[in-house]
């Protein structure tokens, strides 16, 4: 959860100052800010559970690509504005479902962070789905770009629903939901939105994987980290 929020938060922040119009610039910066705030909560908790003295900053800035556990979708490049919003929508729809399930976590802290984050992500999803519909069902040009973005990003959706041994152990302990259990309602929500957006969902459900396990991130994450981490690497432990 922390790495997903961190990587997407950083990606979205790359729009700050260069978004198509001022309102979108502000909205993207706000979404990025929420995600980075959530990152501090999740990675703070992760560091505490790990118990080796690493705080959220250490986990964010002192790890390399193979130690990140984010899904491949969030590290994909921004592309054009439509591609960014399609990525956001595909993630938000999963993110809200996951957070809503985590509110019932047997772990009180996970539940508290999820409850807080779900309020923010409800807003994110409202905006990204509105934008996907607006641009999909927009001009010929915006429709074409949104369909291209969907075709490009759809192969990264499946990974969000793949479980592993860690997931199974968490389900067992009542900490987190079975990833696959969120798929049906996700498909329903995304399907309805894409219909309203006049976009065609790709038929092939092939899914790239390897981000969540850390085994095989895409090339893009390393490039992103060189930007995100350079200051801490050049000047270790620098503070404001």
């Amino acid at each position: 959860m922390g790495d997903n929020a961190l990587v997407l938060g950083h990606r979205v922040s790359e729009w700050c100052g260069v978004a198509p119009v001022l309102e979108e610039d502000i909205a993207l910066a706000n979404v990025a800010l929420d995600l980075i705030g959530q990152t501090q909560l999740w990675l703070g908790l992760a560091g505490e559970v790990e118990g080796e003295g690493r705080d959220a900053d250490k986990l964010a800035f002192h790890r390399d690509v193979w130690d990140f556990r984010n899904v491949l979708l969030v590290e994909q490049p921004n592309g054009d504005f439509g591609q960014t919003m399609m990525r956001q929508f595909l993630f938000d729809a999963w993110h809200l479902a996951q957070l809503t399930a985590l509110i019932d976590s047997s772990d009180k802290e996970i539940s508290a962070i999820a409850e807080k984050s779900a309020k923010e992500v409800t807003y994110h999803l409202e905006r990204s789905s509105d934008t996907v519909i607006g641009l999909g069902d927009g001009t010929e040009e915006s429709h074409r770009r949104m369909q291209a973005a969907l075709d490009l990003l759809w192969p990264y959706v499946g990974e969000m629903f793949l479980g592993d041994d860690v997931d199974a152990a968490m389900v067992e302990a009542g900490i987190a939901p079975e990833p696959e259990s969120l798929r049906a309602s996700y498909d329903q929500l995304v399907g309805d939105t894409l219909v309203a957006a006049t976009l065609t969902k790709p038929e092939d459900d092939f899914a790239h994987k390897g981000g969540k396990s850390g085994a095989r991130h895409s090339e893009h994450l390393g490039h992103m980290l060189t930007q995100m981490q350079w200051l801490q690497r050049a000047y270790p432990d620098a503070t404001w």
């Binding site: 309102e23 502000i26 929420d34 908790l45 508290a112 962070i113 984050s117 923010e120």
Partner: protein
């Protein structure tokens, strides 16, 4: 400077009407002000980003209690990434130290998450007078805070701070901030 641990366990929810201090309410011991006095001090601290309202108007101070000789102030963040959070903590420390509080602990409480329902009526009135439409469960401003016209429309779900959205009045043509309802 006392800083709240960013990873501290959430404090239990405050129980209304329960005073944790053993001293009777209103009876100030030397060097240990009553909780009412502390609340009054806190109500004089403006929100750093929307100085028209105070921290208590905003409803983010969840509890004030004495634990021995240490004053514990429990604060809930508005938005998890709100940059004002650290300034708010600093402002509380400065104000309470200025009133002679020596031992102070700031606790962060995430659950229950902050909701605009905790904003006081005074706070809502102050916001409106300042030109920011107060939050409403209906999901949008009641009217333009400038000319009171109900002919308003949304420009964007997000605004100049995490807690606000951008709206405009189609009557007086003025844009205005709306305090989002969460």
């Amino acid at each position: 400077m006392v800083k709240p641990s960013p990873h501290s366990r959430p404090a239990p929810a405050p129980v209304p009407g329960v005073v944790r201090d053993t001293a009777p309410r209103g009876a100030a011991l030397a060097g240990k002000p009553t909780l009412e006095t502390v609340w009054a001090w806190l109500s004089a601290i403006p929100d750093p980003e929307i100085p028209a309202i105070s921290l208590t108007d905003l409803g983010i101070i969840r509890d004030v209690a004495w634990q021995g000789n240490s004053l514990v102030v429990t604060i809930t963040p508005t938005y998890s990434g709100c940059p004002a959070t650290s300034i708010i903590n600093l402002d509380i420390e400065m104000a309470l130290h200025g009133h002679g509080i020596e031992k102070l602990e700031l606790k962060r409480q995430l659950s229950p998450p902050w909701t605009t329902e905790w904003m006081t009526d005074t706070g809502r009135a102050k916001l409106e007078a300042y030109g920011i439409a107060p939050p409403r469960p209906a999901g949008g401003p009641q009217h333009c805070p400038h000319c009171k016209s109900t002919a308003v429309e949304r420009i964007s779900q997000f605004g100049s701070t995490p807690c606000k959205a951008q709206w405009r009045c189609t009557e007086c043509r003025e844009p205005f901030d709306y305090f989002k309802c969460i």
